[in-house]
Symmetry: C2
Subunit: 101 residues, 2 copies
DNA sequence: TATTCATATCGAAAAAAATTGATATGAGGT
DNA sequence: ACCTCATATCAATTTTTTTCGATATGAATA
């Protein structure tokens, strides 16, 4: 169930950078294409593309191709997975509370 | 309500590193002192201290001083704040879905 | 109060992430 | 087929994070 640290790290990496949080905030109001995000963010095109890749790999954002445009949106299932992982990671075990020293 | 990106980034920074996820996993079974974590982790003492600082600053972990030992444990309130922030960050607005292009 | 032990902090080095400018890819329009 | 536009990818650089060894701090014990 737990202990795939690499995959979990990937999920939360999406959320530990201010620029990516800002992008997520923009996506709250609905799907946006890359060009709109670039304008809103004051960020280079390749830099945005880099951040979008990290966001998509986390599962929290999904992309959709429409001709030459790429549209990005929040993913409900990805967000729910993130939430479930967060709860799992931070919930103490019910059983033995082994202490030390 | 939202848009304190710096604070949010700090919360999720705790969760985007494999070593810190491993530490959190160890804390699931109950409070542990630094010495125990160092042994369990195969990590240098100063390196553990560095990670514990990040974990504590996120609010997800709390520390307790007991003589010369420092004990660390999962914080329920810190974890709940993280859940709330995650939900807020990843929930679309109910209102206008402004699109583009 | 001198010594020892646990942990924090510091400065330097190493490693990883982010930014930049250039180029590549691939879809549409001419 | 060619050109343009939107985005992805690449290589180099800059910035940030992490690690390491050394030293500092502060509590307990002799």
């Amino acid at each position: 169930m737990s202990s795939n640290y690499e995959k979990d790290a990937k999920i939360f990496k999406a959320l530990c950078d201010e620029k990516r949080l800002q992008i997520l905030h923009l996506l709250k109001s609905g799907e946006k294409c890359a060009c709109v995000l670039i304008d809103a963010m004051e960020i280079g095109q390749s830099s945005l593309s880099y951040h979008m890749k990290i966001l998509c790999e986390s599962g929290i954002v999904k992309s959709r191709q429409d001709g030459k445009w790429t549209h990005y949106r929040l993913s409900k299932s990805g967000s729910e997975l993130a939430y479930n992982r967060l709860v799992d990671i931070t919930t103490p075990n019910t059983d033995a509370k082994n202490n030390c020293c």
